[in-house]
Amino acid sequence: MKNNVELTSVGKSVQKIDGLEKITGAAVYTEDFDFGQGLLYAYIVESTYAHAKILSIDTSEAEKVPGVVKVFTGKDFPCKFGLYLADRYIFAQDEVKFYGEQVAAVVARNPKIAKKAAKLVKVEYQELPALFDQMEAFNQNIEGAAKNEIDKDAILLHPELEKYPHVPFIYPQAKRNIGHWRKTRKGDPEKGFEEADFVLEDEYFVPRYSHCPIEPHAAIGKFDTSGRLTIWASSQSPFTQRNIFATALKSLGISHKDVRVVTPYVGGGFGGKAGVTMEILAAAIALGVKGSPVKIVWNRAQEFYNTYQRLGAKAKIKMGFKKDGKITALKHQVYWDCGAYMEYGANTVNVIGLSATGPYKIDNVWIDSIAIYTNLPSCGAYRGFGYSEFSFGLESHISQAADKLGIDQVEIRRINAIQEGDTLAYGAPMNASGLHECIDKAAKSIDWGTKIESKDPNKVIAKSFVLFWKAPAMPPNASSSAFLKFNEDGSINLLVSGIDMGQGLLTVMAQIAGEILGLPVSKIRTENPDTDRNPYEWQTVASHVTWGCGNAVKKAAIDAREKIFDLIERVYSIPKSVLYLDDEKVKNSQDPNFAIPLKDFVIDGLYNKKENTFKGGPIMGVGVFLPEFSSTVCNVETSQGGKPNVHYTVGAGGAIIEIDKRSGKMTVLKMVEAIDVGKAINPSLVRGQMTGGAMQGFATVMCENMQFNDKGKLMNPNFTDYKIPTSKDAPLELDSIIVEHAQPDGPFGARGVGEHVMIACAPLVANAVENGLGIRIKDMPVIPEKIALRYKEKMNNK
């Protein structure tokens, strides 16, 4: 073997391999495909009530419009679907459950005709009482459910909930508006509170948010005349979509092998393009217009209210502390507003039920994480997957407690920070972690402990500090696979089905394969997924693909390398053990003159001089990865016994924020994040995640604000009224610190980082506001208006 273990590709900030395509306009996104003259367009008829019975649907006027091909309603597709909990239909059946829900679709030869005709579809509704507050929804039918009955006054959104298919680790509560209730119990919380010198109780509120990828969802479906269904979709989950399409549409005679999902470049995902949302409309409608491709593209408003939103959360936190700051017990109850359908959101709720301790060692833990149906749009995966929501409360709470105990806000975190081998809330041991290194480096970066005075008497400058963690939320059998094949010139095409939605997966996978095979990244093209061509990947979510897909790619590269060595051994009688790959050649550690270029044999085979024959043939490699140690089997009442999370990525964040006392306007003068990524395969791309995630995190707390009216209608589904940051809102300085304590089962020690970067932001702002102005804001967003009003109130009360 090669003695030199210095890495040549991994750990380098190479340029993104998709960079040139993207800055020249060559990159193809879903809506850029041309489908010719046969293309049809679908436009959706939407519910105008948050909760109502559908009495009748009259499509006759719409059908008369020239150019209209067909009109579909719920009756055409009576099939349910869902990833974790099958609680939704393709179109509403007898009842609508949120404002904007799809009721019917008009398919026409031209998008303008489809839109015009959709207005002619007449739907008659009978309005039903609606639930917009998760606590009100939680309180419905508590007594009735105990008797397995439905009280006549109770509003139940899914009265047949107990009959819905679901994964084994989701626990729907019959006859209630509760899709899942994860309970974690560890130690003796009551005793922990008794032993505490100080107990702090408080409540925190986090509203809903929207992902806002600049590319809205788009899908084209085609059911050809031979019975093959192809979907082109902007998606994070092509294989999961294929599975759901094939399963949901099985009654229509579809088999997995006949379903193909093609995903080109994705114009931003952030979790919103995970699982299946509107894509199922393209699949279903295609079946009804056999032979013609049909396109459905969400407009910006639909992107806000009919994909997923981030879950709303109300948290009750009770924490006990010793005088020295040590946490004795935590009771953390999170009531989640999951909307009308929670098929994906149920898993968000699940993982927070396991992880709502934050990255702290706490011996006595009580967590309830409760998924509640409401008559607002559906909620699901959003970058951070519940961790941002609970961390706002938890990190606010810890800073409040530190002040009341008279302990430094960084010190209290250092005292309680989790370390490798500590027991997690669900009983398994904590993975390798450099959390204390993250704390030290982040605190140093903002010069914690020294005060900065503003020169402007109307402004204050405040510092704040938080910790965060996150584990991938995935079933125990979520697997990845990779396939690579050499070309005549020694370059390779690497096929995976992880999605590069900007984070740099294609590049990072090329770096991993290149490292093993002695190839520069310029010799590797990683292909976007096509389920016919590329091998299986569960989904690109949970910040797990660098780890999971990376492991599969590494194995595929090793597989190809071993085939190369086997061939050399067979033809040259050189033992495999002395061979290595370097500089696009096979070399021999015992013979410096031995060097065979890969391009000489990876397609055409190796020439055997003695026999005048060729040996071998095209070199290909296959790799599969499944976390075989993971298990979700545990005690339903305590969550003890399983190993549901494969690992946590941990980090620390700090901020220096200037706040105007009169207007509440904030300027982030500096932000620091120190995150233990195990190994940065590409440091430039890791920093890219940190920068973009920080901005997205600050946006949720400092400007984004979803406004529903009292009928459950979203009033600001556009970028004029729902503000996302512009170039003028970027932080002035960002320090992205990469900490590397290797993940033993990760490729070259890597673990994920994509989501973690935004978790710190909301509590950093809330903590800075308290540190600077002495007001604690416990309800997000922490926007200037709110700060100014509450500060004024405080000064008036003085």
Partner: protein, 178 residues
């Protein structure tokens, strides 16, 4: 339907458009120019930014018929093939210009964006490249504040803008987008 004529990336092109087609719809569906993207269809996001007679505009806010007889530039027009003049391909490796660093000639702005990994998903990139191109034509050495101002109509959700600024500051420091 009405026939319109555009000087599109230097070439005179004609197509029939509907009276209510936006310029964005016409460019994408009638002229096959796919780099301008539809992100909001109401002028908020800037993903459809193109240059109309040298000025950046949101092509979703203009009717195609209004652009008749006008000059349009998109990202497609900024690149050209990086061809070697040699006739015989066997001489290519010896001539020193092959393999080219990039298979196409790109502007200094684009080179800097590549070097700094400025974009992630890339959906906003064509619009931002055009806004930046306009800025550097008017002001070859803009300040960071001028860069922020020029890009303030182009939303990017992935990057936090900082890697975009880094690239453009570097172009400015080097004297402009040659």
């Amino acid at each position: 339907m009405k026939k319109i004529t555009l000087k599109l990336n230097g070439e005179t092109r004609e197509a029939y458009v509907e009276y209510n087609d936006t310029l964005l719809e016409a460019l994408r569906d009638k002229f096959g120019i796919k780099s301008p993207k539809c992100g909001c269809d109401r002028g908020d996001c800037g993903a459809c930014t193109i240059l109309l007679n040298g000025k950046s505009v949101r092509s979703c806010l203009i009717l195609a018929i209004e652009a008749d007889e006008q000059e349009i530039e998109t990202v497609e027009g900024l690149t050209s093939a990086n061809l070697c003049n040699l006739k015989d391909y066997t001489e290519l490796e010896a001539c020193g210009c092959f393999p080219a660093a990039e298979p196409v000639n790109i502007s200094e702005i684009q080179k800097a964006f590549l070097k700094h990994n400025s974009f992630q998903c890339g959906f906003c990139a064509p619009g931002i490249v055009m806004s930046a191109t306009e800025l550097f034509r008017k002001n070859p050495t803009p300040s960071l504040d001028e860069i922020k101002e020029a890009l303030s109509g182009n939303l990017c959700r992935c990057t936090g803008y900082l890697p975009i600024f880094e690239a453009l500051v570097e172009v400015s420091e080097k004297g402009g987008n040659k």
